[in-house]
Symmetry: C3
Subunit: 460 residues, 3 copies
């Protein structure tokens, strides 16, 4: 069932092995335990009065695990909605995430400050690596069903690199705040992926249209992904905020944003259907937009009230995007966005960036007190006014869009190289190109008939 | 496929939007960060010697996330056992939980003490809101398949309110202890739901009988819900107990209660079948009764030994309930209890309340030491004897049953109003009334045939 | 559909009830709260200056819950890959785990030191009980589909006992280190199970061959198990290591080992297929070998670099094992290993043990500093040199293999007793022997046709 182009026997092993060997060599050369993971250094801290409970592990590991679940179960199963692409959705998600998190450790370590020529790693770098991986998986959603695993690994290679550059510009050079990644993760991942899928435009994709839809149980599998993303988004947005009130507040703001978003998603899903029926696509995706949109401002004093307004709007925007904008993007702009990442990550990410800029510009010492040092250190130190912080946030959004679109353009053209084994237009959204397939369910029914007979005979 | 009555196009959006807008307005008016989530206030604590590690977030957030998984994955997937109601089970669970947790924040905040006219919120209120939501989802189990989403939202609106009143009477007025909610959550939710489904009695429900059963894969989806509820019940019961030994002990007691319950559930499931075969209904539900029954006494010095006895009995009661009592309730009392919540939450909840009363009455300073202040502050302070505490626990059970049954009666009649769009007797347990349906699996098989041919042709 | 032999109506209830009643009696006699779960004792600690945050609960409970998910969801769903054995995979996993964790509490408590004739329990003993249970579930994987639930309970009874003896010899008598259980859990469970399945060899098992394979959705259910095991393995390996840097470092080493393992598993899965297609069996299993192989050395100063090499090799060994060794074991050695536990737990466990021995032998004060006391207390105290520690690790592997093989041999012969109700060769891998079966999916499609008609009629 595989033609020469999509036969992965040489391409995929070579790509995986070369990438992994390079990773191992680089880790051996420049990566070290940080002072919370190194046996000797941590015990020097202990000697100097630290206690084991102060180890960063206890502040962040539960959050890390929640983020980890979002990356591997959340994104992986969210994409299983396609009727015959479940193996690839979960399986390629697994593969590119396993690669991207290693590569991200290096790229983020490189840009975020080497220590004497070495990258120091611990739970915080693990969370950041997972975050960067999330961005790649968002882009994967845009090209889902139309790319080979080799193309995806190559995309991850470049996207992680560009992610780290963009993140460096935003957080270090511009001093922007973006703890939950409305800009760095969602906006970046979405527009990068949209540009890649634009470059990879397939004029004859309607040949695979009958496979680009769900069946009953595939939609239920996808709900596993949705619900896990929804539940753990408070952990995602709060995972790398400052200790104490910051983590606590961010988680709570996100919780209320998501709840409000769910309500507006259901309302608009029903409202925009001619017979009032809910659409699984909206429930699976739009209900999550509240998490995306609270990604920048979640750590600020947005209040539950503000968070709920943001989530409420995000849900509406997202459903309307699925209903009205996606078909236009496909027809007019030739952007074939399989999972509708523009509606779940793109527009809500931009909304989140804007909300973040406005909330930052409104920050006052009266509201933040000494907490200003954690949330906006540059305002607290007097280096910048709140308005300037707001402007820096807005510039960060523009930079992110620019790097994402330009990066996606270039990477899209790289991925067009025929060597990477993309499927032809008529066999997209199809697991059997890349996977050994088990017997069909129909086969199962026949077996069942045989089995029942047989068992009855055996039991007399 | 939808008649006028069940067309949700106007009803559902309006209900969702009005409820959400009211919530947003109320949150804007009377809800504030508590001192652990507010930037300014927390940093004043820090100034006064607190450390970030003292923030309530680190004591409770992991427990909160486990509870959150139980509410959204646990309850949601537990109810996917029906062959054609998976979208509604997970989807309506998601919707009413997203509403209920917001409304519960307000109602519980209102009853549990305003601070200068404001409700203060943080991780503990989030856990309590999820708990209250759990109660609504238990009632949802009783009416599953027979109610529209609008009915469910209206039910949640009233039930949350009554839950908060009952909880206030028990915990504040009566000074009862019920950390895991054997009474406040399980008994209340079950008997409320049973009364609602009694009022909504459908004499011709056998028209939908062929849909009120499972298929192979729907039972596997339901096991996801079961196992998550089972695994995280120790976190549920310990989530709001006092710091230190209390959380630790509660989790451990629940762990052993559940293990023993699983053993007795399997034993009685096999024992009560004429050919000794296990019944998925029992495994999916009765094995959880040990968590319910340890809800009140779990935080007390019940000991693992006592916990195992409680769990062991709960499993037996629950299986026997499914096997012998549910058919009687349906025939004689006209209570159509779709998920058998009486067996999973009702009777085990009452058992848990009784065990709690007895355990409280037996509390001695010799066993509890200084820990008495955490578990039974009124006994420690000398205001009450242990016997009186036991009596107060018993009265609490009676109050809960009274409010649940009366409340369910009234709310049941409200839900009978035809405006809410209940399905007719012949189309219960059917997703396609409320959801856009994907292609059928059978269709998939045809597609597969086409696909295989086509791919082979393409690959020559 | 059940003949006399496999009718469980008497056997299963009696076994469950007797075992549980014995457990309850033993718990009532010899088990007590430890000083972190006992109300009185903990408050005496508080009185003496401890703080609630020092309670072991806060150091270990999040790790415990992750381990718990691996045991019940991870192992349970990993084995649902068989087309008609999903109920038994999840359901028997659930049953034997619920039994084993209680029995393990007693056996491990007995061997690891009684306190005044009593076993003291808390979160650490809960983790250890889950670990021991994991070992039984590994053996379950070897005999999956070919044993009755009664056989499995009897196997668990003996295996837990032998596990505790072996663990005692390794950790206490030999002073070996094995925090993540490469030896105690994986090597032991795998070789024990392999020997049991060897003794239970079925010459006519090809009669059930058509059922010993997966269908599309059963493979997706299995991926839920895989991904959860993969994600939470860092928590597994670090759950009982020392506080601070040890937990932190172990989690991180495992994280990188798994990522590298995933890459090499995909590479070799594709490489060894004649058309380059990925095999779900490899992805579901081999990608996890990196966690197994980091089980002993993960807490040591293995470095991420070393961890990645270990994981990389583990993935390769595991895929090659599935591809080339399993068929040989079955043909030549008559070992019918349903889940291929030799490839996932056996060989990677041995690899992990060897890596642990080498890493221990290379330990220097220069690298570990004061942390040596946590990782290698005997080296720190000067009782042994690093080389001797390495030798003790190697002897531990030999002891484990010996006890596992000998124990499996004896237990295998016990399980051959016809009284336990094993299925005949022609009805292996079949749920319907032990479970009430719901309607078939095919039936569902017929229902659907009926339903659609009916609904349309109703709605005019």
């Amino acid at each position: 069932m595989t033609d020469a182009a999509t036969n992965m026997r040489v391409k995929l092993p070579i790509t995986c092995l070369i990438l992994q060997i390079i990773l191992i060599i680089l880790f051996g050369t420049i990566v070290q335990y940080d002072s919370d993971t190194d046996a000797k250094e941590w015990h020097e801290h202990i000697h100097n009065g630290s206690k084991d409970a102060d180890n960063e592990f206890y502040y962040r590991y539960p959050s890390f695990q929640d983020v980890h679940v979002m990356i591997f179960i959340g994104f992986g199963f969210l994409m299983t909605f396609l009727q015959r692409y479940g193996f690839s959705s979960v399986g390629f998600n697994f593969l590119i995430a396993a690669f991207a998190l290693q590569w991200a450790t290096l790229m983020q370590g490189f840009f975020h400050g080497m220590h004497g020529g070495k990258i120091h790693i611990g739970v915080e770098s693990m969370i950041n690596a997972d975050f960067c991986t999330g961005s790649v998986l968002i882009s994967f959603g845009a090209v889902l069903g139309k790319t080979s695993p080799v193309q995806l690994l190559i995309m991850a290679l470049f996207e992680v690199t560009l992610f780290a550059i963009n993140e460096f510009i935003l957080l270090t050079a511009l001093g922007a705040k973006d703890a939950g990644g409305s800009m760095t993760i969602h906006t970046f991942g979405a527009y990068f992926g949209l540009m890649v899928t634009r470059v990879l435009y397939r004029p004859n994709l309607e040949k695979s249209k009958h496979r680009n839809c769900s069946v009953y149980h595939s939609d239920l599998f996808a709900m596993i992904g949705t619900i896990y993303l929804w539940m753990f988004w408070p952990s995602f947005n709060s995972a790398i905020t400052a200790h104490g009130d910051d983590q606590h507040r961010t988680a709570m703001n996100t919780y209320y944003s998501l709840a409000a978003c769910t309500m507006s998603s259901y309302a608009f899903s029903s409202l925009t259907a001619h017979d009032g029926k809910l659409d699984m696509v909206h429930i699976q995706n739009a209900a999550l937009a509240g998490g995306v949109a609270a990604g920048t401002a979640g750590e600020m004093m947005l209040t539950p009230f503000g968070s709920m307004i943001v989530g409420f709007l995000a849900g509406i925007i997202s459903v309307l995007g699925y209903k009205y904008l996606t078909p236009i993007l496909e027809e007019k702009l030739k952007i074939q966005d399989t999972c509708g990442v523009h509606n779940l990550h793109g527009m809500p990410g931009v909304l989140g960036a804007i909300v973040g800029a406005v909330t930052a510009a409104l920050a006052t010492p009266d509201v933040y007190g000494k907490g200003m040092e954690d949330v906006f250190p540059d305002i607290a130190s007097g280096d910048f006014t709140a308005s300037v912080q707001g402007v820096r946030q807005a510039i960060s959004l523009a930079v992110t869009l620019g790097i994402a679109l330009l990066g996606g353009l270039i990477v899209g053209f790289i991925l067009k190289l025929p060597i990477f084994g993309a499927p032809s237009d008529a066999i997209c959204y199809e697991d059997s190109i890349y996977w050994e397939m088990p017997g069909e369910e129909s086969h199962d029914n026949q077996l069942t008939a045989v089995r029942t007979e047989e068992v009855e005979k055996l039991n007399g």
